[in-house]
C-alpha cells in the first residue's frame, strides 16, 4: 500500500511540475501577476510530493518490504540500518528519485531565499526549473519506476552492492547530486535572463550565491567520492580519471569558471554572453554526466546495469534541454553588448585568461572521456583513454591557471601597471622557486612534476600570505583585529579557496611522487619494511559482520621500534551478494597515511598483503575542505543580504507603476 502511495505522490509531483512549468511562464509573457504567483505554491507542493514519495521508498527499505522490486534487489533483512537507508539511492531508480528530490529542494530554496526578485523574472526561473523537473520525473515514471512491485514477494533480498556499504557512500551521492542539480538554478537564471532580456549587474548578483553554494556541494561531493575510492577500492588511488569521475569533474571546472566570470559581470558588466554560456554549459555537463552514468554508453569501473531505452530517453531530454537553451542563446545573446573595456594588465584580463583556460581544460577532459565512443562509432577500434592522457593535458593547462590565480587579486579592475603588480610579488616568486627546488632536493625526488607542483604550491600559499599582508599595509595604524574584521566575507571566501588549492597541490604532488608500495607474502610473525616502517603480521582471525563473513588480519606497525599503529585489514565475503570485498585499514596522519590491505590466502597458510606509504595524502582532502569552506564564506557575504533588502522596495515600486 505504501509503495502505491509513493507512486501516486510521484505522479502528483509530475502534474505540479507541469503546472509550475507552464502557468508562470504564460503569466510572465502576458504580464499577469495572478498566473505568475502560481509558480511558488506549485514548486512547494511539488517538493512535498517528491519528499513524500522518497519517504515511502525509504520506508519500504527500512521495513524490508521485498514485495517492492527495488528493495528486493538492493536490500536484505541483515543489512545494517544505515545501509538500508543508503540502499534507497544506491541504484538507478532510487538515485533518479534523489535527483528529482534535490532539484525540488533547490527550487523551494529559490522560492524562499529569492523572494525579492521581480515577479516576472521569478516566474521564468520557476518555469525553467519546472520544465527540468517535469522531464526528470517523467523519465523516472516511464522508464525507471522505483515503485515497481515484485509479486509474489521474495522471502529475502539480494542486499546492497558491498562496495556501496561504506560510510562515504552515505553522504557522497546526496552531496554530489545537490551540486550537480544546483547548477540548474544558475541555468534557470541564465535562461530567464535570455527570455526577459534582463542581463545586468543585478542579475549577476542574484546568480552568484546560488552558483557558489552549488559549487560547494559539488566540491564536497567529489572530495567524499574520491575519499571513498581511496579506501574502498583497496589500492590507495584517489583519482582515476574514470568516466564517472570526469562526469562530476567537468561541471566542477566550468562551475569554477562561472563563479569567476559572474564576478566580472557583477563588478564590471563585462563578459555577459560568456557568463550566460558558462551557466548553460555547466548545467549541460551535469546533464551529460547523468547521461554518461545512466545510459552505459561509456564503460567505466562503476558498473551500472543499463537499458538502451533509458539511454534514449535521457539523450532526448539532453537534446531538448541543451538544444533549446543554446538556440535561445544564439538568438538572444548577440543583443547583450560588451560592458566596460579593460586593459591587458587588469583583473578583468586575468579572470578572462583563467576562464578560457578552465573552459579549454574542460574540453580536453570531455574529449578524453568521449574519445573511445567516437572511435567506436566510426569503427576505428576499441580504445581506452587512461590517466596518462589526462595528466599530460591537464597539468600543463592548469599551471598557468594557478599562476594567474595568485596574480588576479593583486591587479586592479580595468587597468593596472605591471610594475605596481609585480613589486610585492617578485620576492614571492623567487621564494617559491627556491622552496620548490629545495624541498624536491631535500626529499630526493627531483622530477619536473614534483618541482613544478612544489613551486606552484609555494606560489599559491606565499602569494596568499602576501595578499593578506597587503590588506594590513593598506590600513596602517589600524589594529589587527580591526583590519581582519573589516575584510568582507567574500574576500575571505576567495582567500580560503585559493589557499585550499595550494594545500591540495602539495597533497597531490607529494602523494603522487613519494608514495611507496610493497606487495608481499606474509606468515604470522613475519615482518616487512617499507619507508622506514616495520610491519609485523600477527595473523588472521574470523570476524563475521551483520551481513558478511570476514577474515581479519592484525598487523603491528612500528617505526624505529616505537609502536605507531595496529591495523586490521579485512577480506570480507558478503553472503547475499556472494561477493568478496577487500576492506583496507589506514593509519591516518597529518603528514602521511600508512595503508594496508589483505589479499588472497595462499595454500601454505600465508597471506598476500599490500603495504602502502602515502605522504601528505590527507592534504588532498584538506585542500578540498578549505575550498568548500571558502565557498560557504563567499556565499554568506553580507552584500547579498543587503541587496535583497534594497531590491525589495524597487520591485514593489515597479509593480505599482
Amino acid at each position: 500500500m505504501i509503495p502505491e502511495l509513493g507512486h501516486f505522490s510521484l505522479i502528483l509531483a509530475l502534474v505540479l511540475a507541469l503546472v509550475q512549468a507552464i502557468v508562470p511562464m504564460v503569466g510572465a509573457n502576458r504580464n499577469r501577476i495572478a498566473l505568475m504567483a502560481v509558480g511558488r505554491p506549485a514548486a512547494q507542493g511539488q517538493f512535498l510530493a517528491i519528499a513524500f514519495a522518497f519517504g515511502c521508498l525509504t520506508w519500504a527499505f527500512l521495513t524490508s518490504d521485498f514485495s517492492l522490486q527495488l528493495a528486493a534487489v538492493n536490500s536484505h533483512t541483515d543489512t545494517p540500518l544505515i545501509y538500508k537507508i543508503t540502499g534507497v539511492w544506491g541504484n538507478h531508480e532510487g538515485s533518479l528519485l534523489l535527483w528529482a528530490l534535490s532539484l525540488s529542494l533547490w527550487t523551494v530554496a529559490v522560492t524562499v531565499f529569492s523572494r525579492n526578485l521581480p515577479d516576472a523574472f521569478m516566474a521564468r526561473v520557476l518555469g525553467v526549473l519546472g520544465w527540468i523537473s517535469a522531464g526528470f520525473l517523467s523519465f523516472t515514471l516511464i522508464t525507471s519506476n522505483p515503485f515497481d512491485r515484485l509479486l509474489p514477494a521474495v522471502a529475502q533480498g539480494r542486499d546492497l552492492n558491498p562496495l556501496l556499504q561504506d560510510a562515504g557512500m552515505i553522504i557522497h551521492p546526496p552531496l554530489l547530486y545537490m551540486g550537480y542539480v544546483g547548477f540548474s538554478v544558475a541555468f534557470a537564471f541564465a535562461i530567464a535572463a535570455l527570455l526577459s532580456g534582463r542581463m545586468d549587474a543585478a542579475w549577476a548578483r542574484w546568480s552568484r550565491p546560488w552558483t557558489t553554494v552549488a559549487w560547494v556541494f559539488l566540491t564536497a561531493g567529489i572530495a567524499v567520492g574520491s575519499g571513498w575510492a581511496y579506501y574502498e577500492l583497496g589500492w590507495g588511488g584517489w583519482w582515476f580519471w574514470d568516466p564517472v569521475e570526469n562526469a562530476s569533474f567537468m561541471p566542477w571546472l566550468l562551475g569554477t569558471a562561472l563563479i569567476h566570470s559572474l564576478a566580472v559581470t557583477e563588478k564590471r558588466g563585462a563578459f555577459r554572453s560568456w557568463t550566460i554560456l558558462l551557466a548553460i554549459s555547466a548545467f549541460s555537463l551535469s546533464l551529460l554526466g547523468t547521461f554518461l552514468v545512466r545510459s552505459g554508453v561509456i564503460t567505466s569501473v562503476h558498473a551500472f546495469a543499463t537499458d538502451p531505452r533509458r539511454g534514449l530517453f535521457i539523450l532526448a531530454l539532453l537534446v531538448v534541454v541543451i538544444g533549446v537553451s543554446l538556440t535561445l542563446f544564439a538568438w538572444r545573446a548577440p543583443k547583450l553588448s560588451g560592458g566596460g573595456s579593460f586593459g591587458l594588465v587588469s583583473r578583468d584580463a586575468t579572470l578572462l585568461g583563467n576562464n578560457v583556460l578552465l573552459a579549454v581544460a574542460t574540453g580536453s577532459v570531455l574529449l578524453g572521456t568521449l574519445y573511445p565512443l567516437f572511435l567506436d562509432a566510426l569503427n576505428l577500434g576499441k580504445i581506452s583513454v587512461g590517466p596518462p592522457y589526462f595528466e599530460a593535458v591537464f597539468v600543463p593547462l592548469m599551471t598557468p591557471v594557478v599562476v594567474l590565480m595568485v596574480l588576479g587579486p593583486f591587479v586592479r579592475w580595468k587597468g593596472d601597471g605591471v610594475g605596481r603588480v609585480l613589486r610585492p610579488l617578485l620576492p614571492v616568486m623567487v621564494a617559491s622557486i627556491a622552496i620548490g627546488l629545495g624541498v624536491a632536493f631535500a626529499v630526493g625526488h627531483v622530477t619536473v612534476r614534483t618541482v613544478l607542483g612544489l613551486v606552484l604550491a609555494s606560489w599559491v600559499l606565499l602569494g596568499s600570505a602576501r595578499l593578506l599582508a597587503s590588506r594590513f599595509a593598506e590600513r596602517r595604524g589600524a589594529s589587527a583585529a580591526a583590519v581582519l574584521r573589516g575584510i568582507p566575507a567574500a574576500w575571505w571566501g576567495m582567500w580560503l579557496a585559493h589557499v585550499g588549492i595550494g594545500i591540495f597541490i602539495i597533497g597531490a604532488t607529494m602523494a603522487g611522487s613519494l608514495n611507496e608500495r610493497l606487495d608481499v607474502k606474509m606468515q604470522p610473525g613475519q615482518t616487512a619494511q617499507l619507508a622506514g616502517y616495520t610491519f609485523t603480521f600477527r595473523g588472521v582471525a574470523d570476524a563475521p559482520g551483520p551481513n558478511y563473513d570476514a577474515a581479519r588480519a592484525t598487523i603491528d606497525v612500528t617505526r624505529s621500534g616505537i609502536p605507531v599503529a595496529t591495523l586490521h585489514p579485512e577480506k570480507r565475503f558478503y553472503v547475499a551478494q556472494q561477493m568478496p570485498m577487500t576492506e583496507a585499514s589506514i593509519d591516518i596522519g597529518p603528514f602521511r597515511d600508512v595503508y594496508v590491505n589483505l589479499g588472497d590466502r595462499l595454500d601454505d597458510g600465508s597471506w598476500v598483503v599490500g603495504l602502502f606509504y602515502k605522504p601528505f595524502i590527507s592534504w588532498v582532502w584538506l585542500g578540498c575542505l578549505l575550498m568548500a569552506v571558502g565557498g560557504v564564506f563567499a556565499a554568506s557575504d553580507r552584500r547579498y543580504r543587503r541587496l535583497a533588502e534594497r531590491e525589495a522596495p524597487a520591485g514593489a515600486a515597479r509593480r505599482t507603476t
Binding site: 552492492n161 562496495l163 583497496g234 589500492w235 564503460t299 569501473v301 562503476h302 558498473a303 546495469a305 573595456s341 586593459g343 591587458l344 578560457v356 583556460l357 579549454v360 574540453g363 580536453s364 574529449l367 574519445y371 577500434g381 576499441k382 580504445i383 581506452s384 583513454v385 587512461g386 596518462p388 592522457y389 599530460a392 593535458v393 600543463p396 593547462l397 606487495d519 608481499v520 607474502k521 551478494q577 556472494q578 561477493m579 568478496p580 570485498m581 577487500t582 590491505n597 589479499g599 588472497d600 595462499l602 600465508s606 598476500v608 599490500g610
Partner: protein, 148 residues
Amino acid sequence: MKPRSKRLLLVAGAVALLVGAVALVLNAFQQNLVFFHTPTEVAEGKAPVGRAFRIGGMVETGSIRRAADGVTVQFAITDTAKVIPVSYKGSLPDLFSEGKGAVVQGTLGPDGQFQASEVLAKHDENYMPPEAQHAVDQAKKAAQTVAQ
C-alpha cells in the same frame, strides 16, 4: 595601446592558447591511447610489441598459478578461440577468478608472455566487462564464418 591592436592581441592570445591546447591533446593521444585487442588478434601478431595495450577476455579455468613469492601470478586469458599467457605482480581485484571476464593492461613480451601492469575485473557479479564480452563475441563470430 589602441583598442584595435589590443583586441588583436587578445585574439592572438586566444588562438595561441587554442593551438597549444590542441597540440597538447594530440601529443597526449599519440602517446597514451591504449587500444583493446582480443586474444585472437594478439595471437595473430596484430598487437604492438613493446607498447601498452589491453586484452579483454575470460580467465581460463585452471590456469591461475602463483609463483613462490606469493605475489606474482600467472594465468591465461582467452576469448574461447586463442589463449594468451599473462604474468602479473600485485594484488588482484576482488572479483577476479577463473572462468570470469577480466581486462588486463600491459605489454607483450618477445616470448609471447603478456606482462600485465593492471588487472581489471567488474564490480558487478552479473555482467562481464564489455571488452571481455566483445572479445568472446568476436571469436565466436570468427568461428562462425570459418564454419560456413
